[in-house]
Point group: D2
Chain length 346, copies 4
């Protein structure tokens, strides 16, 4: 059994990693860390994980942890991850970072959007953006994975085939995303309290959300030139799930069937992408708890616009599941090991 450590194991992505890895046949969790919960038992804080054994939170003592695993998952806050990633990576460990710290290739862009300088630019250069559908071959050889953000995963996967095939005008892209409340993280904050979120719905961070440059970075690569996008996140009164509705002007007269064909070919063999039939669109409820990205699309002939609906579970394909998928690829494990494709419904 390969040993793994989870640094930052008391947030929603951390406990989701613990849940997923508990069902993984090739790895064993040797330590979980949390500064504010150090000394507490996992099962005491998270009763739904009581069957995971006797894990106890430890403080993040990097030197001591170094010898306890070969793979380090980091689910630390942005900024806090920079140094820890660098430490484990420079000491020869495989690192999968769930923060945003190593996602943006250009340190200047990082500084602009996150308000912090990037102190480990050389390590940043080694990071592979962990979207298997784009970078599977690089991930196989990587030692440092920058695990994608939840919104970017849904948005990029919804656009890859169309952009690559030059079916759409890259200057016309509108990305309207809706996320469940777990995307805001586990925190004591009136803004995420039940009575504020329940029966409510709102947009936030319009034009300013930090996932914007991450989406633009990957779409620019695909488009072969720098592009900007309109990206608007919204808060849904559900626990989990992101649904992203994408609009882009068609450059050619292709119809829905032929665009679907392009998507099916591009994603043929992908274990976690499901492209729906014409006229069928995904629902976040059907991907909950799974590592799937489900996609439905249509070409509106009246407006000559491609409309793509892309759905993931923000905590799985949008975070911890994708992190495990990346680990599986890096380590040569079966890519689907530990990851669900059937959701619990209703």
């Amino acid at each position: 059994m390969t040993k793994v450590v989870i640094c930052g194991g008391s947030g929603y992505t951390g406990i989701e990693l613990i849940r997923i890895l508990s069902g993984h046949s090739k790895v064993e969790i040797s330590a979980i860390t949390s500064e504010k919960s150090a000394g507490k038992k996992l099962a005491e804080l998270f009763p739904h994980l009581h069957a995971c054994g006797d894990l106890v939170y430890e403080p993040l003592n990097k030197e001591k942890l170094l010898t306890r695993a070969d793979i380090f998952f980091l689910a630390l806050p942005h900024g806090a991850s920079q140094e820890a990633v660098n430490f484990f990576y420079r000491n020869g460990k495989k690192v999968i970072d769930l923060s945003a710290d190593y996602r943006l290739r250009d340190p200047e862009t990082y500084k602009t959007w996150y308000g912090l300088p990037h102190v480990f630019v050389s390590t940043l250069g080694k990071a592979v953006y962990g979207l298997p559908e784009l970078y599977r071959n690089r991930i196989k050889k990587a030692a440092l994975i920058a695990n994608p953000g939840c919104y970017p995963t849904s948005a990029i996967l919804g656009l890859v085939p169309a952009l690559k095939a030059k079916l759409i005008d890259p200057e016309s892209i509108v990305i309207d995303s809706k996320s469940g409340a777990s995307g805001a993280g586990r925190k004591a904050d009136i803004a995420v309290s039940f009575c504020e979120v329940n029966e409510g719905f709102k947009a936030y961070g319009i034009g300013t959300h930090r996932h914007t440059p991450e989406i633009e970075q990957e779409l620019s690569c695909l488009a072969g030139g720098e592009i900007t996008v309109n990206f608007t996140p919204h808060l849904l009164p559900v626990d989990r799930g992101i649904l992203t509705t994408i609009y882009a002007r068609m450059t050619k007269g292709a119809d829905t069937a032929s665009v679907l064909n392009v998507y099916r070919k591009r994603y043929a063999g992908e274990p976690f992408i499901k492209v729906h039939d014409e006229g069928v669109f995904p629902n976040i409820k059907n991907v909950r708890g799974t590592n799937l990205c489900e996609i439905g699309l249509t070409v509106n002939p009246r407006t000559k616009t491609l409309i793509v609906v892309s759905t993931i579970d923000n905590l799985v394909k949008g975070a911890s599941g994708q992190a495990v998928q990346n680990m599986n690829i890096m380590m040569g494990f079966p890519e689907e090991e530990g990851l669900d494709r059937i959701s619990i419904f209703p």
Copy 2:
């Protein structure tokens, strides 16, 4: 007290009319109709309305009902409303039709989208589209009001000032709407059962929803030329509320403050429009039960796009509240009579 009849009083818009009119100081409900609930007491079917008195559902016998009121609200299904509207209108009554039957001025467009011919084209020509913020003067003199659809109300109100001031390219409009489940009506249907809707979120009717031509009709008037729009509705797991996120390319270099200024001027004095300050965006929870339309907007300087967020309660400003607002205007009652501006929160 002016007497009113509500035809089709057992759906969500019908009972919402009853609720609102029960608190209205100038009118009295003299009859409510429902084919399938004829003979049943209102309070038996809808316990939350037990304080409305001893109303009993009757079958829709138009001749008999004619003498019982001066104002007829029709909350019948599309198609079924055509004849009833014509009858009451031709017999000299004031009619407020909550169906779609008299909203589209062009009977051909109606036929294309609703699959039915319009049999009363002459009466159709008398109908005034009941959006007070656009047509208050015509509503004052009207005897037949086509009460707007819920999605169109949110979309059109979000665009009026920008289109009118030619701030945006009318060819670039994307309207991404999200509605609570009451928008689907009150019906026995697995698709709207709790376990299907709860914790779910999906798009539907993409590019084909029947509110599209209604939105396009009004926006074309404002733009001064025929336009098409991308309109995508989604189903939110909440009881009430529509939030519409609108995207359109700016034609001029105006910033957020100056666009907000245009909106504030256009809507000055409007009792039910609230334009938020820069950086503040509405939440459906804050308009629940009220007749308000709340609007927030921003100009994204990176993409030169205007993004407007427009929010209403689909059953109030999106249906029954607006119907009462129209009645108030037609009858010379105070426009706000019976209509709330403070929501119950949380």
Copy 3:
């Protein structure tokens, strides 16, 4: 217009008072206080109240506030209310206290359950327990009202007629209550965050909840002897509403119809009590936003047990609505003024 001050106006009961009083024709809010929000505009913190005017939060400076109103509503935390109540009361003001500080007549019981001594025992002796259905005549003459807790309101109103008529064994009472999340108050606490509460349900404070002695105090009065009860609160994933299911052994062979008769007689003329017909039981959704208490009951002939279901909106009849009802009675206003009996459904 009578002037009122609301001390502690930024919690859920405080803003609910503001909402209700905004629609009251006899009073005007002259000040609202909040320590941590002092200086902020009401409408900025609570956009749903923007139509309430230009109220700004002030610090609780008792001396300064004294001259600004004749009636003081106190929605302060337990303990903090003791002194403020005493101050306003001793200075000749009418006081309605929504905290628990003046509810328990015996200061020893208060100390046992709240862990604090009661420092104003003489003032405590002047307080009237503000349950109009029990104490309307005393409330008329009172200057200090201890507004009942939410759970006690639902439990006591569900038992008054049966206990008074000695239909049940007072030693056998089980009170199983379920409350919406607003009952926990407005606070930054992971335990009330959306992702913890949504799709969840749990019991809490079993046998130890502080509303127990309040329920026992009033039931003991009614039973004519000291009794203890089993009271278990649960947390429902809804915004508002308490449903209390009460079980008690029948002492006589009465059937459902005859017990219903006892309830109807006892509550005849009560503007906010609705006793349902045999076989009909209330739903919290039908009382949301109203000051109603709806009651349904049955006698189980197999177990010789009376089962009562009692429902209120915890923030209205369970707090702020009842406070306004008490004010109306004290001031000689119409008892229903400002208070709804029709809920917004769905």
Copy 4:
């Protein structure tokens, strides 16, 4: 691989069986039936199951199905199951019946509560009540399992140790249960539509619910004499989960710790029972999707009452999971095979 057939595979318990069995290493689903969906693909109706392969619904042709499996799961409506169970059982197959038809040992009681005669009394005599914690040894040798109801599972498991140890007065039991909406089944019915259930909570079937005689049958066995109980079900606005709060007078002066000890001993080694520590109580959210029954309890010294809180997922331990647990026991498979103990949270 052992072959299984699922008769009645399009309701919530049917699709939950498909989900669970898809992850079971020892069995293979050879047919699923549904009268109204015959001919349709599973994945078309239930997109969350698309990874289960190419199953297509068939009509329930008993003769044809007989040769296709060794184990028959029946998730048919009450009444409809009688004959099908008898047919498969009499033809030598192992049968697990999820309906109520074979749960009540006394055919007269069945007739009284279900309004139908039991036509296969001899087969009824062969059925074993499939609660492994009570009847594991009989289940091992059984060919016909009457899978328990959801409410009875939660209620009985919450009472077994206390009743068996004679800690409580069997005449004093109150069972107050709350269930998620999936318990009502998958159907087109306004009463289970989103807008009726969401933000609501109500009791139903008070004193008359059909699970009452099932609970009483098993508790009477344990108590060693016939008893009746107060059982009140309520409808929670969540997808899944039952929480049952049980009250019973203590016969002895035992405290919480000693009662907990009795429960721990009785359930030692049970793979799916978790007894919480003193002061800790379960939440339905933590058992969602799992086959667990979590129990917390306290003795209230003031009222001398034992209060037990028992929680399950109504579709898993309350239906399909328990059915698979029964199959595992009957077939000599590992008892936990295919069944989760870690829930997806949040």
